[in-house]
Amino acid sequence: MDDIKDDISLTDEERALAERGRSLVAAAMAHPDAQAPPALRESLAAAGPAPRRRSRLARSWVLAPGLAVVAAGIVALVVALGGSGSDRGPSAMQVAAVARLPASAPAPAAIGGSPPRLAARVGTLAFPDYGASYGLRASGRRSDRVGGRAVTTVAYRYRGQTTIAYAIVAGAPIRWGPGRDITRGGHRYRLSASPGRRTVTWTQDGHTCVIDAPSTVSTAQLMRLATWT
């Protein structure tokens, strides 16, 4: 309270209220919710103190809106034409562009298990059921061919609003495209971004998995979904 007394511009009532404000802030800072989430700690630990270049994720955010619209149009055109024709199939960004299209079929049912899965799979790889862990409910699915590859997508919704698309590309791993890499549990994940979107790409059971989410979903949250088992 001593320093508050020194501030002559505050009335007694205001000083008392300011003291309450100080207590409120102190209590909030001491609350468990104000601790850094474990996923953030893991991300920082994975990044490590080794020097590295500034992330392309951040640089891509400064794209001018007009340029971004043109870029999105080009991506859509390439996807519509069926990809690049490369032996390695489509790029992860092409897959993400398709994955975020509206669902064309009902959501697959939950089939339980540990960890819980959905009744949708590509080869041996089943789509996760995030409902119990994160409140993300499967809201629909779609099947496409992109660059000659079968792409199966399950859309998830959070609180009926935020939509996240999880796509699995059948066949051998595809090109990941630009981004920055994060290693978790010995596995490599590539994070990339386009205006308003974030994407993480990785290989699992020999297939390429892509999760596309709005940029309101943090990188750490995206990584929770990608590493969920």
């Binding site: 802030v25 609350h31 590295r52 609003q161 308003g196 309101t216």
Partner: protein, 178 residues
Amino acid sequence: MIERGRILDAASLGDHVDRLYRAAWALCGSRADAEDLVQETFARVLAKPRRVQGESDLAYLLQALRNTFVSSRRAASLRIVAVEAPAGFEPTDPSGSRRPAEALEVREVFTLIAGLGENFRDALVAVDVVGLSYGEAAKMLGVKEATITSRVHRARLEVARGMERADTGVLMNEGRHG
């Protein structure tokens, strides 16, 4: 005489994660954005060896966090805004024992701090959120110590008033929870 300073100890960055996360949350008003801000700050700081000129590591990192916040906000104003709901998603509380009202109040405090005027917010974040001394905060923000004292008090006052309004449901009605 030119002060050469010392090299920031990158290995000790982990000691400051909690404080920087709280500072980031108080700047952004959103936990998802706070996580991104801390990650981006660490990525920038770790990109090359950093020389600390007199201030503590924590003060240096807070300055880096604030710079990253300002530049990311500038970049955000140039990018297309996502049309989706601003809410991210949070994992189900594994403990199940926390009182929702308490957690809500914590969020309200952070939301209120983020909504303060920039000068008041930065002073409060430096002193009450991160725990810098008034002198360190003044040096970091380039103002007199007395100015910091005044701003911190005003900021606390605004937070208390905001919480009083929240108690009457004002914040809920305005949908300002992040």
